[in-house]
Structure formats: C-alpha cells, structure tokens
Subunit: 254 residues, 4 copies
C-alpha cells in the first residue's frame, strides 16, 4: 500500500484553513498530521513529521512561516495574500541553500480561473479583438476585479510580445463608460448582480468567428482541487514557483 503524504495546515481555524482541513481529511492519499492556528507554534509541524505544510494564515506571519519551514525541510503551499517581489526574492535566495525543498506561492487556487488566464494569454495574439467581462455580487467595492485586471494585463503582454496591435474600435459617440475600463489597452467591463458570486469571460473575435473562455466560481470550495494539486506536486518542483499554472502542464512560452 502506498504511504500517505503527511500534511500540516497553518491557519487551520480560519475560514479557508477549515475548508483545507476538511479537504485533506477527505483525500485518501493525504494524512492530516497537524493543524496550527495563525499565531500558533510551528514546532507542531515538524514534531508531527509533516512533509508538506499549507499556509492560509495572515500577511504578517506568512513569510516567517515559510523561512522556518524551509529550514526544517518541509515543502510549503502558500495561499495567504500580501506577498510582494521583495518577499518572494528572499524566499528564492533562501531556497538556494535548501535545493530539495519546494515552495508554491499562488494568488489563486481555482483551477478554472488559472486556466482562463493562461488560455486567454495563449489565444490573445491570434485574434483581432479581445475584451474581458467580469461579473460579481453587488457588495464588491472594486471594479474591475483583481482577477480581471490580471487577466487583461496578461492578454496585453502576450499581444505586445507578438507585435499585435490594439483591438479595432470605431466608437466616436459614447455615453460615458459604455466601452468599459481600459486596462493596458484591453477593455474590461464589470457587471454587478445580486445572486452572482465571481465570474469572468474573455471574448476573442476574428472575422466570422468568436472564441469565449468563461469561468464561473460558485463557492469557496472551488479552491480545494487546486490546493490539493499543490500539496501533491510541490515536492516535485524544488525551488520557488509562483502561480498554480506552472503545475498544470500547459507548456507554451514561460
């Protein structure tokens, strides 16, 4: 019988942490060996012999957690927000001295959202036009969503790299706002509707055809397949990996 992978969850009492605990306990190939609160003692992780730790704590402690775990030879999957380039650089440097350890920092664990961004970037250079529509519940304070801005930026970068110009647009009479927000030259429209959760649609057009890539997120549980994928694969990716897409065998230009 295959040995089960030993997993610790940090921030286990939080909203995401509790969902991760349940997901690990439900997975036949994983064994939950430690659950630690956001402000708890990490010695429980190593005492329990954890091979992988999942960090859904808070921005103020997540980087220190990662350094401690790397020293202990524990692979880490990080879902906590608040990482900037400087913090990522310090982890990358640290990992030079622990070449067998893998750390995955992912801003988004929903496989569908990650694939939407990756496919949009791959497809964007082959179409004359591209726009993004995102749809969320009406209690959201920012528009467009961070995911949509990130998607549009990825599309713009891919088009620029391939030498593709802006999408055509003959609009000369406009009611203000009709053509959406301009994110790096890509038009992004934000719909707010009671009943919705988080949805994104990338529309690509050529003469005579349209390609649509759409992601619907109905529930926080949608992050779990991505978290478990990270847990299972992080040991095979030593060093620092930023973004779940690099574990999805999507190939293409990186």
């Amino acid at each position: 019988m295959t040995e089960r992978l030993k997993v610790a969850v940090l921030g286990a009492a939080g909203r995401m942490g509790r969902t991760v605990v349940e997901a690990v306990e439900s997975a036949e190939d994983l064994e939950l060996v430690a659950r630690v609160d956001a402000d708890g003692d990490l010695s429980a992780v190593t005492d329990a012999g954890a091979q992988v730790a999942v960090d859904f704590t808070v921005p103020s402690v997540t980087e220190a957690n990662v350094h401690t775990l790397v020293d202990a030879g524990v692979h880490v999957v990080v879902g906590t927000t608040g990482w900037d380039d400087a913090a990522l650089g310090r982890v990358r440097d640290h990992l030079v001295h622990a070449p067998a350890v893998g750390v995955l920092v992912a801003p988004n664990f929903a496989l569908g959202a990650v694939l939407t961004m990756a496919f949009a970037a791959q497809a964007a250079r082959w179409f004359e036009s591209v726009e993004v529509v995102e749809l969320h519940h009406p209690d959201k304070v920012d528009a467009p969503s961070g995911t949509a801005r990130h998607t549009a930026a990825g599309i713009a970068a891919a088009r620029a790299a391939a030498g593709v110009g802006p999408s055509p647009d003959a609009t000369s009479q406009q009611i203000e706002g009709a053509r959406g927000a301009d994110v790096d030259g890509v038009r992004v429209h934000a719909v707010r509707l009671r009943g919705l959760v988080a949805h994104e649609e990338v529309l690509l057009g050529n003469p005579g055809e349209m390609l649509t890539i759409r992601h619907d997120s109905f529930d926080r549980i949608s992050f779990m397949p991505g978290v478990l994928l990270g847990v299972r694969q992080v040991a095979r990716h030593p060093g620092l990996t930023v973004g779940l897409e690099h574990l999805l065998d999507l190939g293409g230009r990186r």
Copy 2:
C-alpha cells in the same frame, strides 16, 4: 383554395426592399403584385390591387406614402426610419376617417429583439438587480447601441412604475468606465468585437438566481419573419400600431 394576400413593396430596389421582395415571393400565402422604387409612383400599388404595402423607402417620402395609401384603403407596414411623434399623430388622426385601415410602424422587425425588450420589461420589476450588455462589430460608431438604450429605458420605466428602486452597487473604487454607461439608472456595457454582428443580453439577479435573456442577430434576413408577420396581421389591427410587440399576443400592461 385560400386566396393569397396581394402585397406591394415600396423601396423595392433598396437593400432591405430587395430582401422583402424575395421573402414575399417565397411565402406561399402571399403574392407580390407590385414593386415600386423609393421615388416611384404609388398608382402602381392600387392598379395592381395590393391589399397591403410594405414601405422601406426613405424618411423624406415615407409619411406621404402612408397618407396616400390610407386614402386608397391599403394597409401599410412601415420599416422606414425617421418617424417622430408629430408624424405618428398625423397618421393617427387620418385613420379616424379610414377606420378599417391598419398601419403598423415598427422600429425593429427582428422578433428576437422585440421579444427581448418586452420580456426584459416584464421581468425587471421582479429582480433586485438588472444590467444590459450589448455586443457589436467594431465598426459601429455609437455606444451603447440604440436597441440597448431602448431596452434599458423600458426596464427603467417598468421598475419605476412598480416602485422598484435602483440595482444595488457597492462600488467605491473604480477604473473609469468599468461599471458601464448609466441609462436611466440602468448600467449598460458595450463590447466591440470583430466577427460579431448585433447581440444583446439582459441580466437579472435575485438572491441565489439569475435570469438571462439574450438576442443574437447574425444577418439582416432576421427581419423577414417580423415583416411577414406584420403583412399578415396588419389588416386585423385597424388604426395605428407602433411596435411589432403589439402583434405578438404578449399581453401584460400596455
């Protein structure tokens, strides 16, 4: 055997007129008895014994055509643009003296577009949120489209009549334009994409559910079922009718 309805087409050499000529010729229950150019002589219509005339001419002659045809006892279906309230009022007054004659003036003959507007107005009061997305080819100069503005105005009027307040929206940080144009308090988003023709989507949201009504127009031919419907029904609707929706048995408040 049933007698076929005798039909004349005015503006028969124009783009729409030619399509109407073909559609009438293809319909088993209709007989094309006269085709007249936009600047042609209407005596051909009465000489041929036409019972119904379809007017796709030009704004400068369409009203005069209608008055002439009403005097001749010919029912009229008008697709020419440029009608204002004053012109409609003159036809209404004229028809008092020709109580058996029917005149249908319709700004849009695409059944799907007409039904989308009618259904959106009927549904709007029952939902907390409603927004409109329209999508067109990138050579269009105005945004949002006239159809989308008309749809939004109908939604706004229906909600006002039912005492329903504005759609909820907590947006406080926005990249300019993200939340679309404001048409009578209804948000309208305009997408421009190569490959598209004319498309409109009305999104309505309540806690836990969404209703979507969408119309895709791929080709000018989509107006023909509505034109033929007008031709077949106009005689049964004496007086002036403005808008194809009144021939569709949709009921509701008018």
Copy 3:
C-alpha cells in the same frame, strides 16, 4: 405607519420552512406570528391572528391544512409537493363557500424559473426552431429534469395552439442520443456536471437570429422572493391560483 402582515409558517422546522422563517423575519412589511411543525396543531395559527399561512409541510398533511385554514379565513401559500388535480379540485370547490380567501399552490417559487417557462411559451410560436438544454449536478437521478419537461410541454402546447409545426431537423446519421430526448416533439438535452446546481436554457431560432432564455439557480434561497411575493399578493387573488406566474402581471393568453 403601515400595519405589518401577520404570517404563520407551517413545517417551520424543515429545510425550506426554516429558510421561509428567516425570510419573513427579515422582511420589514411582514411579521412572523406563528411557526408550526409539519405535524403541529394549526390552532396556533388562528390564535396568533395570522392573515397568511405558508405551508412547506409534507404531502400527507398539506391538503388537510389548507381546508382547515380556509375554514378559518386564513389565506394560504403552498409550496409542498404532491398535489394532483383531484386535490386541487376539492380546494377549488371549498373556496366557493369562502369567496374572500385566496389559496396559491405553486410547484416552483423561483421567479427566474417561472418566468423562463412563461417567456418560452410566449415566444415559441414565433420561431421556426426551439430546443431546451438543462444542466444539473451529477447526483441527480432523473434526466431531463421535471422543470425542463414542464418547460418543453408548455412550448409544445403553445406551438400546437398556434398551428406551428415541428422544428426542422435533417439528421439522418446519429450516434444514439446525440439529438437529446423527445418531449412532446421538443428536443431536450440534459448535461450533468460537478459544481452546478440547477440551470435551464431555452434556445429559439429563426433565419439569421437566435433568442436565448436562461435561468441559473445557485441556491435554495432563490425561492424566497417568490414565496414572499405569494405572501404579499395571495389576499388580492381570492379563489385558487395554481402557479406563481399568475401573480406576475405577464398577461398573454391564459
């Protein structure tokens, strides 16, 4: 200040009943005056002076509840399943002797689902082609869903009443099942997908255009606006009303 409407909930401990209790308590114009279990004593309803009772009990007691409440002069909104034509007939007969009392029996309280069915039936006669696609979670045992079968039957009846023939279909080579189920001559396709709840799409096609009416149900909470609508309106509709659509001012042929 306006008097609040006094409401009782029967089956208050059940899954739906609890959600109704919360919804009534959250509505400013309603006052929850009694909550009774599915097997509880209805005298609590009249003792508390309830004007409207909502019944989400069980098939074995719901009809007896209605007769008791009608005798007590209490309006009733029924969401319990299991009503057949005979039971409805008995309530209709009973109401002859209580002409001021209204009873609403509704198989579906999701406004979006009810409107989808109503709009599909209204539109069906004006299009050459119509098909239904329903999408649900993969634990559902029946295909197509009851709602989709009901929608298709309504479409078929509307087309038959208008003398519209079957949708065109030149299929001569088919992998078994590709063209879906035949429900009264209307094709219905059932998709089963992890992550979904309950979704339905009616597709209508004419030359050059398509009309789509889609309902997405994400959560049981979606029934509440319809239940509250019933509570607020049932007193204004004396006699028996079957189906929420009759309270929605949709007009049309009934």
Copy 4:
C-alpha cells in the same frame, strides 16, 4: 522594404479557393502570383516563382499536387479533405529527401475551433466532469458534428493519459437520449436550430466552479486567418505538420 511572400492558389475557382485568393490579395505581406483551377497545370506555380502554394482542390488530386510541389521546392498548405494515414506517410517519406520544404495539412483552419480543441484537451484532466454541446443549422445530416466528435476524443485521450476516470453521473431514470451521445466515454449533445451556423461548447466542472470554452463560427471567412497563418509560417516548419495547433505556440504535451 520587406519582400512580399509569393503565393499560388490551387483550386482557385472553388468556393474556398476564391475566398483564399481574396484574402491573399488583401494581405500586404503576401503577393498572389498564380491561381490554378482544381484540374489545372502546376507548372504555372513554379513558372511564377511561388514560394508557398495553398491547395483547396479535390481529394482525387491533392496528394499528387503535394508530391509535385515538394519536388519543385515549394512549401504547401493543404486544406483539401480526404487525407488518410497512408497518404500522410507517403508525404512524410518524400520530405526526407527535401529537408528544407514544409507541408502543412490541416483539417480545420478556424483558429477558434483549433484552440477550443487544444484547450479542452489541456484542461480535461483537471476537472471531475466534462461534457460537449455542439449547435448547428438544422440542415446538417450528421450528429454530433465531426468537430465535436474529434473534440470529445481528444478530451477522452487526455483524461486516459492522466489516469482520470469517467465524469460522475447518477442518472437512473432517463427519457431516451436525454444524456446525449457517448463518444469515448464523453457525453456529447447536438442542438439543431434555424439561424445557427456552427458552434461548440466544452463544459468542465469541479466542486464550486465551471470552466466553459466556446467557439462560434458565423461564416466561412473564419478560416482565412488560419490559412494566412499557415502560409506565413509553413517555411519555418520543414517536414510534415498535421494540424494548425502545432503552429500556435501552445506548448504542452504533444
């Protein structure tokens, strides 16, 4: 100034050939130097100094054309149908002796359709459920479409290679056909609707989320960007390439 690429079109009088001729003439970086009928003499191609030839002829002559052009050192883009593994093998063998020449044989030049198939195959292993819905005009005789069957087969192969089991499905009561056709274990639904051209939707579901990849083809013109891409790139891909996806920098496992 950059030299324009010299292009010949074979089958130039056919429906597709004429569209290719127009597309080449409209492209600033391409020069149309020869147009040959399906049964015409290929010496015109070499006499005109063509660097690339596009073959939209007929199954009976296309293979002979390719061998002749390879001998003449002309790169070839083939859109003609009817190629089997034996014919492809003979071209591959021939190209061993002309190592600088590139031949591209593509069953589908619509970029959106090719990308839909590629993305569906890449995503399929990461989702618990996947189904395909295709929608076409009602004059189509086969169901599901060849493209949908090809898409489903690619999905099935990708899931098998990754060790992913079948999509869950608890259906136990079914109206015959409701759950669609079974193509290699993937459910495929075929909708037929007046007004449509050719459309395909791949639906992928995980707990709490759905990913949708949809391609709408409105017009034959949608093949042209793919044909021109082939023309511009074929010289950089010596040897035989089967499928436009290999020119799209999609990476991944091939």
